[in-house]
Structures are given as structure tokens and as C-alpha cells.
């Protein structure tokens, strides 16, 4: 039997890598595609979502025995929406530039299905420590993947990463990367790549197991 600490770590890593919300669970697609034209947006959106996810997971887990099953959906939504409103107001006050470039996607964290899905499928069934780890893992997994996506899009769409010029001066930015088609296609191609890597790793593991046996 694994000890408690071990399972918490495992829950955290599960969200970060194994069940990465973007590449495995395919949740929260709208902000993933909508804000990822610049790497700084990706990180900002990711961290804002992580904050809401961690808080809502913790609260819902604490309240899971009090909330009646019938009204759980409205109850979850109110909890999530409260944290989103906090983040929204905080960012408007202290990070006005980031808040402006993320636009309406901040209030829309409420309907980001990652948060709702984790509340329903994890926090409602597990203790607060586990739920906290799950929220943190999922949130950082989401942050990592949308930052990666936004780095690729910014590199080709503007020739920069985090605003620093990477491509040579003569590079002509590929404007379509900043638009809707670029987002869809880049994410699709990245998903193919991730799936291919996963398959190779899986094959290797199986081969190693076979060799051991």
C-alpha cells in the first residue's frame, strides 16, 4: 500500500501529465484556443484558471457532504463563479494590461469545463488534500499545455516568444497563426505529435516489460 503522501503526489502528477486536461481529456478548449496568441497570455490564463480550480476543488471537497445532490450543479456553479469574480476583479485592478488582452475569457472561466468536470468527478468524491493536489496538478497541466501552444503560435505568428525577437529580422510573420484557423490547426498538429510520442513511450514500456519477463 502506498502511503498518503505518495498518492497525493500521484494525483498531482496525474493531472499534470497522465491526464493532462488539454491533450488527454480535451477539456477547456475555448480559452486554450482563444487567448494563446502570445506566450504571456497563455501563462496568465493558465494561472488564473489554476487559482480558480484549486480553490473550487478545495471548497467543493470540504462541502461535499453538506451540499444536497439535487442542487449540486447550481451550488458548484455559485462556488466557481465567486472565485472567478474574485480573479476577474483582482486582475482588473492589478494587472489591467493582461486583463484587457484576455478579455471576456476571464469571466468565462466559470464555464471552463475543466473546472466543472474536476468538481463533479473528483472533488465531490475525494478529501480536501487530494482535491487540492488534483486541482493544482490539473491547473498546472493546463497552464503548461496552453503556454506551449501559445509559444508556438507567437513564434510563427509574430516571430517572438514572450515579446523577445527570436526569428531573424527577415522573417515575415505568418498572420494566420494569430487568427482562428491557426489556433485550431496548431492544436490539432500538436495533439497528433503528443499522441505519437505517447504511443512510442507506451511501446518502449511494453518492450521493456517483455524483456524483463
Amino acid at each position: 500500500m502506498a502511503d498518503r503522501k505518495n498518492t497525493v503526489t500521484r494525483t498531482f502528477l496525474n493531472g499534470l501529465i497522465t491526464e493532462n486536461p488539454t491533450f488527454t481529456l480535451m477539456l477547456g478548449m475555448c480559452p486554450t484556443l482563444g487567448v494563446t496568441t502570445a506566450a504571456s497570455n497563455g501563462i496568465g490564463m493558465g494561472l488564473a484558471t489554476t487559482f480558480v480550480l484549486v480553490c473550487s476543488n478545495l471548497f467543493i471537497s470540504l462541502l461535499r457532504k453538506i451540499i444536497p445532490d439535487k442542487v449540486r450543479i447550481p451550488a458548484y456553479i455559485v462556488i466557481i463563479a465567486s472565485f472567478v469574480t474574485m480573479v476577474d476583479l483582482f486582475m482588473k485592478a492589478y494587472l489591467p494590461d493582461l486583463s484587457k488582452s484576455l478579455g471576456s475569457y476571464i469571466p468565462l472561466i466559470v464555464v471552463n469545463c475543466i473546472i466543472f468536470a474536476r468538481a463533479e468527478s473528483f472533488a465531490a468524491k475525494n478529501g480536501p488534500v487530494q482535491s487540492l493536489a488534483d486541482g493544482l496538478g490539473m491547473g498546472l497541466g493546463f497552464t503548461a499545455s496552453i503556454t506551449l501552444l501559445s509559444i508556438v503560435r507567437e513564434l510563427f505568428g509574430s516571430g517572438t516568444i514572450f515579446g523577445a525577437q527570436i526569428m531573424p529580422e527577415s522573417y515575415q510573420p505568418m498572420d494566420i497563426m494569430n487568427k482562428v484557423p491557426g489556433g485550431f490547426i496548431t492544436l490539432g498538429l500538436m495533439m497528433i505529435l503528443v499522441n505519437a510520442i505517447k504511443k512510442i513511450i507506451g511501446k518502449r514500456r511494453a518492450a521493456r516489460k517483455e524483456a524483463l519477463a
Binding site: 515575415q172 510573420p173 498572420d175 494566420i176 497563426m177 487568427k179 484557423p181 490547426i185
Partner: protein
């Protein structure tokens, strides 16, 4: 429905005897006059673009199929057709990397990812053109004048002329100083006007298109309904101004699109009724985009949009689904 076979079954009566390769060779032959005309009109830069585009497309298909350990099908000439069509949609004098990037996008992302010939749902050359157009707009709308118009000036790149479409657009909206007499019908027919390299010489395109229809390589329904719809729309909105309508029909990418791109087998409907609807839709959207939207030429976007609608048109014009159209207004 034998979707897998569409690439080799353009219409029922020629199903048995033809192969993809022969059809594609016929298309290349039909495209040749316009290509030759473009080299005459725009000089060496046109030849460079055509070569770069065709080589990129064929090479991209070959390398992808080798890499993926698939059967190499470059021998079916379809990549050559895509390369030609893509080149015809690029202005002469564009940097060489433009057709290269476009060719890779067309072949790999639009065609091969979905399973190669017969499986793509959007026209590869047109999609690549739209990507180039949106990404590097400044390059893609830098239309050089033809050698004949630029005579006495410094060189090809020195002038990037207004296209006849821009002038006609002004006539259409009734702008001051715009007049139909600025656009010569003969110049339009011969291709002596600014534009992307393959679309200007209308005589060559019409010749190629009629050849394909006569040889039953393409179905007459799509080009006829597309060009007809554009004509009707311009006649109606311009108060039956025949001069304007004729010039609109002969400018921009309409002829190239109607004969060679809207008729692509796997991206247009299979039913006869569907083809008429498809052509009319292309014509209507072309008119709307050309006359009102911010892009100067609507042909590629109109055809692409109808490409997207094709599976539904097929579904709702196939006899067994009859009547279901009404459900979705």
C-alpha cells in the same frame, strides 16, 4: 455512396474506362494555355512561381508518403494539378518561398492528413491560397502589371497596378471618376491586366474549361450555374448594365475558379441537383464577397465555403434523404 471512388468517378457515364492519372493529365493539358499565357504576359517570374509550386507539391507528396511508409502516388499527376492551380493563384513576382510554403500546406495539411487523393474535403490549392492571402496579404495583393502594360517603365516590380476588379468595384458603387471605358474588354479577354498570374488570360481559361467539359472530365453544371448566378446578380443589382456585367464576369478569378477549382471531384457534390446548388452558391457568395466584403476577390473564399457545405448538400440532395432540407432552414 461510394465516397472512396469519387476521385475516379466524376460522372456516371465515364466511370469504367478512365483512371485518375488520365483525368489529371487532361486537366494539366487544359491548364497549359493559361500557364503559357502567364509566362508571355508576366515573363520569367511567372515561370519561376509555376516551377516552384509544382516541384514543391510533387516533392511534398513524395516525401510524406515515403516517410509514412505509404504507397507513393505522385504518378497520378494530382499533385501536379494542385501545384499548377496554386501557382495560378499567386501574383507573378512574389518571393519563391510563397509557393513553397503554400505547396507544403496544400499537400500535407489539406490533402495527405485526411488520407490523400479523394479524401480531402477542401480544395488544397485554394485553401493554401487563402492561407497565404491572409498571412502575407501585402505580398499576395501586389499584382504586377503585364509586360505589355509596363512597357517603357523600369521593370516588372516597379508598378503594382490596380486590378480591373478594383476599377469595376468603383463603377459598381458609383464612385467619382470611375468609368467602364477604363477597362477594355479585349484586354480582359487576352489577359492584359493586373492580377494573379493564371487568372488573367480568360481566353486560355475558357478554352481549357470547354475542352474539359467536351472531354467529359468535368461536369458542365457547376461552371454554368456559378457563372450564370454571378451574371444574374450583377445584372439585377446594376440595373441590367450589360457592359459592367460582362467585364465582371471576365475579371478576377471567376473563370479559373468556375472551370478548374469548383469542379474538383472530391470537394464538390456528386448529385446533379447538388452540383447546380453548389455552383449557384459559389456564384452568390462570390458576388456578395466581391461586391461588399473587404477582400477584393471572393472567388476562392466562395468556393471554399461551398466546399465546406458539400457533405450536407450531398446528404440532402440524395434521394433517400429527400425532404429533410426543410428541417434545417
Amino acid at each position: 455512396m461510394q465516397i472512396k471512388n469519387i476521385a475516379i468517378t466524376p460522372s456516371p457515364h465515364v466511370r469504367s474506362s478512365v483512371s485518375t492519372r488520365r483525368l489529371m493529365q487532361e486537366v494539366c493539358l487544359a491548364l497549359a494555355p493559361a500557364g503559357i499565357a502567364s509566362v508571355i504576359l508576366f515573363g520569367a517570374p511567372a515561370a519561376v512561381i509555376i516551377a516552384a509550386s509544382v516541384i514543391t507539391c510533387v516533392l511534398a507528396e513524395y516525401l510524406y508518403q515515403r516517410l509514412m511508409k505509404q504507397k507513393v502516388t505522385v504518378g497520378d499527376w494530382s499533385a501536379v494539378v494542385t501545384g499548377l492551380l496554386l501557382a495560378y493563384n499567386i501574383p507573378a513576382g512574389a518571393p519563391v518561398w510563397i509557393p513553397i510554403v503554400g505547396g507544403i500546406f496544400a499537400i500535407i495539411i489539406v490533402k495527405q492528413l485526411f488520407g490523400g487523393i479523394g479524401s480531402n474535403f477542401m480544395n488544397p490549392a485554394l485553401t493554401a491560397r487563402a492561407v497565404l492571402f491572409v498571412s502575407w496579404n501585402a505580398i499576395m495583393i501586389k499584382y504586377p502589371q503585364t509586360v505589355f502594360l509596363a512597357k517603357g517603365r523600369v521593370g516588372l516590380d516597379a508598378v503594382s497596378g490596380a486590378t480591373p476588379l478594383a476599377e469595376l468595384g468603383k463603377v459598381f458603387t458609383g464612385a467619382e471618376g470611375a468609368s467602364l471605358s477604363n477597362v477594355s474588354l479585349l484586354d480582359l479577354l487576352l489577359g492584359n491586366c493586373a492580377g494573379v498570374l493564371g487568372e488573367t488570360c480568360k481566353i486560355a481559361l475558357i478554352l481549357g474549361g470547354v475542352y474539359l467539359i467536351v472531354r467529359k472530365v468535368i461536369d458542365w453544371r457547376i461552371p454554368v450555374s456559378m457563372i450564370g448566378t454571378v451574371a444574374v446578380m450583377y445584372l439585377l443589382t446594376s440595373g441590367f448594365n450589360l457592359g459592367l456585367t460582362a467585364r465582371e464576369l471576365l475579371s478576377g478569378g471567376l473563370m479559373l475558379g468556375a472551370f478548374f477549382m469548383a469542379t474538383d471531384y472530391c470537394t464538390s457534390p456528386q448529385t446533379n441537383k447538388g452540383r447546380l446548388i453548389f455552383g449557384a452558391g459559389c456564384g452568390l457568395l462570390l458576388f456578395v464577397i466581391r461586391a461588399y466584403a473587404s477582400y477584393p476577390e471572393g472567388c476562392s473564399f466562395a468556393i471554399l465555403f461551398m466546399n465546406v457545405c458539400t457533405p450536407l448538400i450531398d446528404r440532402w440532395t440524395a434521394p433517400r434523404y429527400f425532404g429533410e432540407v426543410r428541417k434545417h432552414g
